[in-house]
Symmetry: C2
Subunit: 322 residues, 2 copies
Amino acid sequence: MSLGEFDLIAKYFQRPARHALLGIGDDCALIAPTPGMQLAISCDMLVEGRHFLSTVDPERLGHKALAVNLSDLAACGARPLAYTLALALPRVDEGFLEGFARGLHALADAQGIELIGGDTTAGPLNLCVTVFGEVPPGRALRRDGARPGEALWVSHPLGGGIGDARLALEVFRGRLSLPGEGFERARAAMELPQPRVTLGLALRGLATSAIDLSDGLVGDLGHVLRRSGVGARIDADALPQSAVLAAQPLPWRRECTLAGGDDYELLFTAPATADAAVREAAHGAGVGVTRIGRIEAEPGLRVIDDAGQAVAVGQGFDHFKS
Amino acid sequence: MSLGEFDLIAKYFQRPARHALLGIGDDCALIAPTPGMQLAISCDMLVEGRHFLSTVDPERLGHKALAVNLSDLAACGARPLAYTLALALPRVDEGFLEGFARGLHALADAQGIELIGGDTTAGPLNLCVTVFGEVPPGRALRRDGARPGEALWVSHPLGGGIGDARLALEVFRGRLSLPGEGFERARAAMELPQPRVTLGLALRGLATSAIDLSDGLVGDLGHVLRRSGVGARIDADALPQSAVLAAQPLPWRRECTLAGGDDYELLFTAPATADAAVREAAHGAGVGVTRIGRIEAEPGLRVIDDAGQAVAVGQGFDHFKS
């Protein structure tokens, strides 16, 4: 069976418009932002073999393609509105498309947003999602607001931590092995990241800066520090870890938490006096948060362990250097 | 010399923000749409070997990647505001990036818009541009507004026509040859399409439906007819043609004008009484327009020649069937 471009869009991606004034099937999609609100826009391109493995369950891939973009909205404290999808496919594979669309639509439904347009073409597998959200003027969380003396926080699953996605990747790479259940949990962290949209909204007016963890804690924190013109000290032993990661040798624990990548948790700063408010915001969002260090005036990042010793760290993930 | 992802963005794509409240370098870009206006969004993905040849001048490719998206805004009668770019590159090729960015920025500057964000990654060459524009509520040109008795129009360069892009493609394919100057003109039509943004704005309140020609006249007109629930009759001999195309054998003239693709002209309908107003709008926009047929109640498309004989036509370009 051969589906053409327009059949393919209609069959898998077109659903009745809810919020959109004009959805899939015209030259443009039309949406009506709330008058006076600012529009937050983010765009991520996912390439096979680099952002996902060719063996990934298509449903999980659909989830992740949207989740990593929603994570950017979360890091800005924006409320998601809608998204577009551009898709290059080597061939029309209905099994792939059916699962991919299911994962995509399920997360979109959970977030109350809809696919408003996009493009499909033949080509090496490539997924490009662009998301749109709203934020009141001047209330967006940015990377440049961290100030000396503030506390540095990271979100994570309740009872879990950061670094599990990297742990799963290392299993796929054959560099370590995990017991069955532990592997499935780490794999879910890698393949089914949960965008912290509710937490991002709750942090508006509370966090002074925020970024989502996509390239690894050290690399992503570096963006905040440079843009804010500050430095930081973090306690490597304070980084939250799942039981699966905590059972690994120390070098892997360090690598996965400090430079893991693909966490899609929020890294944010808040006044040192705001601990209770931060914990309350996280509780309301059903997410864990851990205070991992502090912002300092001296530029650069200092990572120490519980014994006060400096910990050597990598530089985070760069798509053209790794 | 090796540039990383962040260096690459900074060197080639980051410029001082003008309209954007927050541009490249944060989790999201922020823009402030004019309160009460609707937001028009369009997204096109361009793949090497399918949407452009590997030999294309990078500067022209930069122009075209943005132009084809602006053409969608034009077809909606939307005023361009900003755009994002996601780019997968097999390797960091500074010669390519320098030229590509130059072509992109030149067209953006000419349209008064700016690059507000995006993504870069390693991968098979893939360009995904998403554009944002504004339109007053209820004033967007759509595909579903054509009514029986209305006139059907197509835009084109002053003194030129449609189909030249396809003509150039056929030269690259080795299926025909053109004299040097004629080839350069046809090639410019293919590689440097001019989005009809000014015309689209002038057609608000005048055109009853519009679409941009990307997949070929017959195929694109079919979208308008189906969504509007009408049919049409067009005169194949009335289709505007450049001197270069007019010198070709009849079958090539028919193929290039009726099913050419990559024209990025506007195909639109207007009341039969509005001819003078349409010509005035086009004159103001510095663009040619030709009346090529009429909308009829009977579904389907009837293509006839000057002698009143039916002309057989193809079905337009489908990215998974061609």
